[in-house]
Symmetry: C2
Subunit: 388 residues, 2 copies
């Protein structure tokens, strides 16, 4: 759809955007612009180049993608740090309750953050996915869920879950890392309390791009970040002795903004202002359907873990195979960049912004070849993996 906007690795099919979105021309240009501003004006660029405005300016752009008001979103810190801030905030809104409820299959980084918080002053219930409705009760303070599962790519029903949790007085936090930019999100319509999300997957913000925070307007007066970052002060440059939180999402800002990362993200986000996310979703499901169809026909050796129902799918398709790791190595070696999740999952991104239905066919053909010819058993694929 936007193939010309991306600079993809040469001679490859890049099916790993759910892990790290590819470089866009506009991100590259804005990065160069940021370095130029640093070079030519030094510290003056905080004002002259409006660096200081980047967190809220990019927050406004992301707000438009997730059904939020412009002032409800800001960009700051990592997803882990932002999760820490909003889960603590959510707990403070429910001071009589002490339980954080989450899902066993949530992304481990989310579980860790909850465990760190539970360590000091609260408890955590890690529920099986099938049981978290029955685990919701009036004892639960905070529900912490990820909208699209990082392994299976299955999407939760945000509206239904949020509504039910609210009926029990539970404050709801959603992690949008695997959904923002690729599936429909309507935080306002679902009346969500808090959300966070990473910007380096479907938003293509670059490796380790800073994360965003959403806080519903109705919590502006009562919610507060546990980390009193000076950028969240009402008047940071008055250098007052006492912290006074700003209003709106900006109170969730931390230290000095990560300008270089924000500049790349600024460029990457410029793509989305021209996009119809409904059309992206439609094309994404066409890609997914094409991939699954081809796999059914040609590669019966792998099991598709992603939902049968298209409306429950996110932006990637997960396949199970006992030799998943070695198969993923062989695929990469043959020019299809995918990734592996311990112990037996291969994930394929189907983002239509830079992947076509033909890429899906090519991917399935290649996978079939590697599996049937047992190419993955070759010695060279027995190396050790650190990250993909």
């Amino acid at each position: 759809m936007q193939y010309n906007s991306f600079i993809l690795p040469a001679n490859t099919i890049y099916m790993c955007g759910h892990s790290l979105g590819p470089l866009t021309k506009s991100a590259k240009m804005q990065m160069e612009q940021g370095v130029k501003e640093w070079e030519e004006e030094g510290v003056l660029s905080w004002n002259k180049a409006s660096w200081i405005d980047l967190p809220m300016q990019l927050g406004r752009k992301i707000a438009a993608l997730i059904g939020a008001h412009a002032d409800e979103v800001t960009v700051s810190d990592s997803t882990s740090v932002n999760l820490f801030k909003v889960v603590q905030s959510a707990l403070a809104l429910n001071p009589q309750r002490k339980i954080i409820l989450t899902e066993a299959d949530n992304f481990p980084a989310n579980l860790y953050i909850a465990q760190g918080i539970a360590h000091s002053n609260t408890a955590i219930t890690v529920s099986a996915t099938e049981q978290f409705f029955e685990n919701m009760s009036k004892d639960v303070a905070v529900l912490l869920l990820t909208q699209v599962n990082y392994r299976t790519g299955k999407m939760h029903d945000m509206a239904l879950i949020t509504e039910y949790a609210h009926s029990l007085g539970i404050v709801v936090v959603w992690d949008l890392s695997h959904s923002v930019g690729i599936v429909p999100v309507d935080l306002g319509g679902c009346n969500v309390d808090f959300a966070v999300g990473c910007t380096y997957k479907y938003l293509n913000g670059g490796p380790g791009a800073p994360s965003f925070v959403y806080i519903n307007r109705r919590h502006y007066d009562s919610a507060c970040s546990p980390i009193y970052g000076w950028m969240g002060h009402r008047t940071p440059f008055a250098f007052q002795d006492t912290y006074v939180a700003d209003s709106g999402a900006s109170k969730y800002l931390g230290g000095t903004p990560y300008v270089l990362g924000l500049k790349a993200l600024e460029g990457a986000l410029s793509l989305f202002s021209e996009l119809d996310l409904g059309e992206v979703r439609k094309q994404c499901l066409i890609n997914a359907e094409m991939l699954i169809d081809c796999l059914r026909k040609w590669v019966s050796e792998v099991l598709c873990l992603s939902p049968e129902l298209p409306e429950l799918r996110g932006g990637h398709i997960a396949l199970e195979h006992n030799a998943a790791y070695f198969i993923s190595r062989a695929l990469i070696d043959e020019g299809l960049i995918c990734d592996y999740r311990h112990p037996n999952i291969i994930r394929f991104c189907v983002n239509p912004l830079y992947l076509s239905p033909e890429d899906m066919v090519q991917g399935a053909l290649l996978l079939g070849q590697i599996v049937r010819k047992k190419i993955y058993l070759q010695d060279k694929y027995q190396q050790t993996l650190k990250v993909t």
Copy 2:
């Protein structure tokens, strides 16, 4: 000393490195390299280009500048977030005590972080600088100080203060933001417990470059970050359900590393491996002396707030004048980039890596001209400042 390594703003004297260090050729090169890696290999660069190793690799380089062991330092998050982590850690090491002692004249961001922590489970004593020795007692859990004052540029005696605090069982946290890379720091020799510091001032890491954390080896078994970041897990890519902290400084890592910012910092730090910091200090004091001498002779209208004794000075000189803001605007307009701190301070960086004694003479001459001719009263300097 290293003039050829920097790309300074054209036709200016850049005396603002204590706020944002200038771009180096090597930082620019590494940034471009990082974008190239993203472009050419996408997600594979986490391993192929060793992105995943950057936080500890850069930590090792910074360790060499602050008297720390290589494994005691890592680079992650902002200074504010890192302060939150280490102050909470320090409190947990002293569970019978509930007071954080700090200095009224500490950088406000440090006061805010302490206030945020005090809000939930502890108290804070903000002491006048002259009285913090007498305010130290066996009730104090944590002492939080910045080595070099952000306004006056006055340096604390780290060895003496840390030793006295330890004699009372106080855990000591130092903020090195205004000292790392420009003044001698010996965390190991002073037996400091925790430290943090920013990398965008004297280390020239770029706007909003990620910050570093130091944890003394003797706390490896007992100290723990309150934010259980997945990069601090012993085996982050095993995706285990339960958080198990890594050993060493790496347990203070947070979310996915800020690669683009880290690449710039990697380039910037390459300069320091060739430098003798003792020589930098010597030249820095020569610059400071030259500036102060010229000001005494030519600009008696401004009051020097920085210490008389050279050994108590940091890397910048602070001047007081009622029209400080307007004077700083006029200086910048005339090509001398300095900065202003509310309500009446102008700060001049004297970093010898890119500023010569001749620059000091030029700076003093220009300031004298602006003050004596009252150029700062011109209408065009009445604009509003957000950041410098």
